[in-house]
């Protein structure tokens, strides 16, 4: 199913939301990705990924208390859902499984 496929950026955002628990919201996610992966994203791009993940049911959200720095506006805090956790595990598993199947030979680099 097309909906269950997890894109690279989506996976990255999903992981970041997990890392930032329980304070994952748009700007925080954007900052974290920049810090950890060195990728500079526009806030609107982060937003659209977050909403997409929520629509896929991998994230859920709730509104936080109002904060001063946002002009008294609330944040939308994103949390992983069970489906989100499973999706991460599956992706991780698939990656490890595939990685492990790479012949040793292929990974041995020598100065020749």
């Amino acid at each position: 199913m097309k909906g269950t496929y997890l894109g690279e950026l989506e996976e990255l955002v999903l992981l970041t939301v997990g890392i930032l628990y329980p304070e994952a919201y748009g700007v925080a996610v954007m900052d974290e990705i920049e810090r950890q992966a060195g990728r500079s994203l526009n806030i609107s791009a982060v937003h659209s990924v977050l909403t997409r993940l929520e629509e896929k049911g991998l994230l859920k959200s709730k509104m936080s208390d109002p904060t001063e720095e946002r002009g008294g506006r609330r944040k939308r805090i994103f949390l992983l859902t069970a489906a989100g956790k499973r999706a991460l595990e599956e992706a991780n598993e698939l990656r490890t499984q595939l990685y492990n199947q790479i012949p040793k030979m292929a990974l041995q680099f020598r100065l020749a």
Binding site: V27, N42, I43, H47, T51, M63, R70, R73, R74
Partner: protein, 862 residues
């Protein structure tokens, strides 16, 4: 000061962003902004703008307009209709008032629409209409130019040489005495070239369409067939026609035409081949100097009227040689579709249509009435809201937004307007159009040119009325606060200033209208009772078609004991006059001239104020005596007019008497200097008979009998002198009826608007009045209280409206009549009485409600 993100970008975000997402998006944008704002404001602002622009994505844009209400409001439409219907039944009085007011206005609008539609589609039924044109001559007359629809007779022959033409048709209107057996009627006839029916698409019911090609055949309409023969099956029958110059001819009926349709600007009963005319006027066919016949051309397919110009150049040369005093300066071909509308510009046109000014006036009246009715509806609708406050409150609480309430009221209003439209159309069909048709000589039929325009008109009218009348109430009602309504705290009525302004406007318009109408009615009563300058009651007149008939009739008169005196006349007061140029002390004057026989003044009861009347015994009276009217004396500035002299046709004339001014035309014409002279019997066209009082009708019968013997081929053309201005007076009477109707509508509409406002204010102040009642206020006091506001409105409306109406009508009367009509106070008195009565009665009906109301009921329910 705290740094803020750019205002416009923020607003833009708020505007486009889905409200559900706005908070987080705006929050993130702000957070990013403040993070850098303290270090670099400019950069922060730019990045804020950039972010706002980047957030502008399909996902974030608000879509509620499309998404939310469409299914909901279509679902509700049925409910709106049901509620509207129930409300209509519940407030039956208000509903009836609304619908009645609107339907009267719509009825008038429909009638005016039909009038306009027929006006703009005159002659549209001719299949070749776009190729037909009327030749109009721009002729020099003195220092003026006039447009003559008639051309010289030989022009047609000349035009036939032009190869761009398919047909040329001449036509001339005339009249003839038509005799079938012993019955004689005078009919208006049309001499026409044979191709007339090839050019114009008039329907032939039976017989041969080509009949006019035979010079002893004619065609007549169905109506005429029935009139003269009693049935329509008349092809092949004969009738005899006696034309103007006494020429009599037997003619066969070659075909029967459908009655002239109402959308034809040309009207005729008989079509007679123009060959008959040529036989009658030998030599007249070659005369370039006189413009006698209307000439139509029909171009061959694909040819333009401008191709006729070379022929016109030749024609102008001929014409200018033959007629040096009135040369044709330009020839114009007027396309058939413009002929009717422009016919008022032309002299001698066969076509007829209403004056354009009248057509514009009608449109204005129509719009005026519709607007009045819409104002009314607004007033009444706003007033009736009081009974529906709870409903609106509940609707809002269960989720109806402002939009839904507006929709509901507009849909309801549409229902009302639709009913009014049906009622109004019925009113126009059964009452207004036939009424108009019977009042005026204009033929008016409930017909339209095409369905497309009908749908456009009715659809447009419905939408216009529904939106104009329903827009304000819907907006007003929808803006109420649900909480306040349900808590009973909505102070409804704060906006009554609007209603009051509307009402004042409405009253002003009504009073303008009423005063104007009354001034007009007054003027027509003034003319109705006006002295004509002579006693008209005991005089019978017979028109002579041949001067010899005078002598023969005379024999019959001398034996009649009721006859007091009689006289012949060449021109007759009230029917005709000629103008003459006289010379007095080296100066020329144009005066009206009435050549008459002896005893004419006595037979007409004209009052002699100075000198004597004509005397048969005095020989000089036949040649050089003249009697003038007082205007004549005034114009000459004579102090003693008797024996003054002037020259007429280079003969010296002496004044022997002066008569009081008399009206020899109707009142549209000024009384000008006029004179009587004696003329010979060979010129007599009228026989004037003065009879004993009370024997007018019996004498007229005897005259008719005598006429049958004297002139069996000619119809009897007699009339009573008292009838000569009937045309004028009848059209005045017809105008009066229309004006009464318009006034009645104006009063009615004003009363309805008032009713709405009074009941609205009464509802608002019911508690106040109840408290007053409890404390012992009398009915009179309450009445005065209620009236106070409206009296002011009435006073303002009267102060503005009355002079305006009088001024406008005065302007119109001045344009129509030369004479200053004495002003009276009556129109104002009647108008104000009428309005005060209307207001009083309207308020009284509401007062009844107040009196019957039990104060405890009102006050308990707090």
């Amino acid at each position: 000061m705290k740094v803020m993100p750019p205002r416009w970008a923020d607003r833009f975000l708020e505007w486009y962003c889905n409200p559900d997402l706005l908070e987080e998006i705006q929050g993130d944008a702000y957070e990013l902004f403040y993070r850098t704002a303290n270090e670099n404001t400019q950069k922060a602002k730019l990045s804020f703008i950039w972010n706002v622009l980047r957030f502008f994505r399909w996902r974030n844009i608000r879509k509620d307009r499309i998404k939310n209400y469409t299914p909901l409001s279509t679902m509700m439409i049925k409910s709106y209709f049901v509620t509207g219907y129930r409300n209509m039944l519940r407030n039956a009085t208000t509903s009836v008032i609304n619908i009645l007011g609107l339907s009267v206005a719509i009825g008038c609008a429909v009638m005016i629409f039909i009038l306009e539609d027929s006006y703009y589609n005159l002659d549209a039924m001719h299949k070749n209409g776009d190729r037909i044109g009327l030749i109009v001559n721009h002729v020099k007359e003195g220092d003026q130019q006039s447009l003559l629809a008639r051309s010289p007779v030989p022009l047609a022959e000349l035009l036939k040489e032009n190869s761009a033409l398919e047909h040329v048709v001449r036509a001339a209107r005339s009249s003839a005495s038509v005799r079938v057996g012993n019955n004689v009627f005078t009919e208006s006839i049309l001499f026409a070239d044979p191709a007339f029916l090839d050019m114009f698409s008039f329907n032939v019911v039976s017989g041969n369409r080509q009949s006019l090609y035979n010079k002893n055949q004619l065609m007549l309409t169905r109506e005429m067939a029935v009139k003269h023969f009693g049935n329509e099956d008349v092809v092949g029958q004969t009738l005899s026609m006696k034309f103007n110059n006494q020429y009599i001819q037997e003619l066969f009926i070659g075909g029967v035409l459908e009655n002239t349709p109402a959308n034809s600007s040309m009207y005729f009963n008989f079509l007679v081949p123009s060959a008959v005319w040529e036989d009658m006027n030998k030599g007249g066919t070659e005369d370039w100097s006189k413009n006698l016949s209307v000439t139509f051309v029909m171009m061959k397919e694909g040819n333009a009227f401008s191709q006729l110009q070379p022929t016109f150049d030749v024609y102008q040369k001929f014409q200018q040689q033959a007629n040096t005093t009135n040369p044709v300066q330009r020839v114009e071909v007027v396309p058939m579709k413009d002929v009717a509308q422009r016919s008022y510009e032309f002299t001698g046109s066969l076509s007829w249509s209403n004056a354009p000014a009248a057509m514009i006036a009608f449109v204005v009246i129509g719009i005026f009435l519709i607007l009045l009715a819409c104002f009314n509806y607004m007033n009444v609708a706003v007033a009736s809201v009081s009974t529906r406050l709870k409903e609106i409150g509940v609707r809002k609480v269960v989720g109806g937004g402002k939009k839904e309430i507006i929709h509901q009221f507009l849909v309801e209003n549409l229902l009302f307007c639709f009913i009014a439209l049906l009622a109004g159309t019925a009113l126009a069909y059964y009452f207004l159009v036939p009424g108009f048709d019977s009042l005026y000589p204009v033929k008016m039929v409930f017909e339209v040119s095409s369905w497309k325009i009908v749908i456009l008109f009715f659809g447009g009218l419905l939408l216009f009325v529904a939106l104009v009348s329903g827009g304000y109430p819907a907006l007003y009602v929808s803006s109420f606060n649900a909480m306040k309504i349900l808590r009973g705290k909505e102070k409804f009525g704060n906006k009554s200033l609007f209603s009051r302004t509307l009402l004042t406007l409405q009253f002003t318009l009504s009073i303008t209208c009423i005063v104007g109408c009354l001034v007009f009615v007054w003027s027509s009563y003034y003319f109705e009772g006006k002295d004509w300058g002579y006693n008209r009651d005991e005089t019978v007149v017979v028109r002579l078609l041949d001067p010899t008939q005078f002598e023969e009739m005379r024999g019959h008169l001398s034996t009649n004991k009721n006859v007091i005196s009689y006289a012949g006349a060449a021109q007759h007061i009230g029917k005709s006059s000629q103008s003459a140029v006289i010379r007095h002390e080296e100066q020329e004057y144009t005066v009206d001239h009435l050549p008459v026989g002896f005893h004419y003044l006595e037979s007409m009861n004209i009052r002699i104020t100075d000198g004597r009347s004509f005397d048969e015994a005095i020989e000089s009276d036949k040649h050089e005596s003249v009697i003038v009217n007082q205007s004549f004396v005034k114009k000459m500035g004579w102090s003693s007019p008797i024996n003054q002299s002037f020259e007429l046709d280079s003969t010296k004339r002496y004044v022997i008497g002066v008569v009081a001014d008399f009206y020899y035309h109707d009142f549209y014409y000024e009384v000008k200097p006029a004179m009587f002279t004696i003329t010979s019997k060979d010129d007599f066209k009228f026989l004037v008979v003065k009879v004993e009082a009370g024997s007018v009708l019996s004498t007229q019968e005897e005259l008719k009998k005598a006429w049958k013997e004297v002139a069996p081929d000619d119809p009897y053309f007699g009339f009573l002198q008292s009838e000569v201005f009937d045309n004028f007076l009848n059209s005045n009477r017809a105008n009066n009826k229309v004006i009464y109707f318009i006034s009645a509508v104006a009063v009615m509409l004003a009363a309805m608007g008032l009713y709405g406002l009074v009941s609205y204010n009464l509802t608002r102040r019911l508690k106040e009045f109840s408290v007053r009642k409890v404390f012992g206020a009398s009915v009179v006091q309450l009445f005065r209280l209620m009236n106070r506001d409206y009296m002011w409105i009435l006073v303002i409306a009267f102060v503005i409206g009355a002079p305006l109406g009088a001024f406008l009508m005065d302007l119109m009367l001045k344009a129509a009549y030369p004479e200053q009509i004495p002003t009276t106070i009556w129109p104002y008195v009647i108008a104000i009485t009428l309005m005060v009565l209307t207001v009083g009665m309207t308020i009284a009906t509401q007062l009844k409600r107040l009196i019957e109301e039990n104060p405890t009921e009102t006050l308990r329910s707090e």
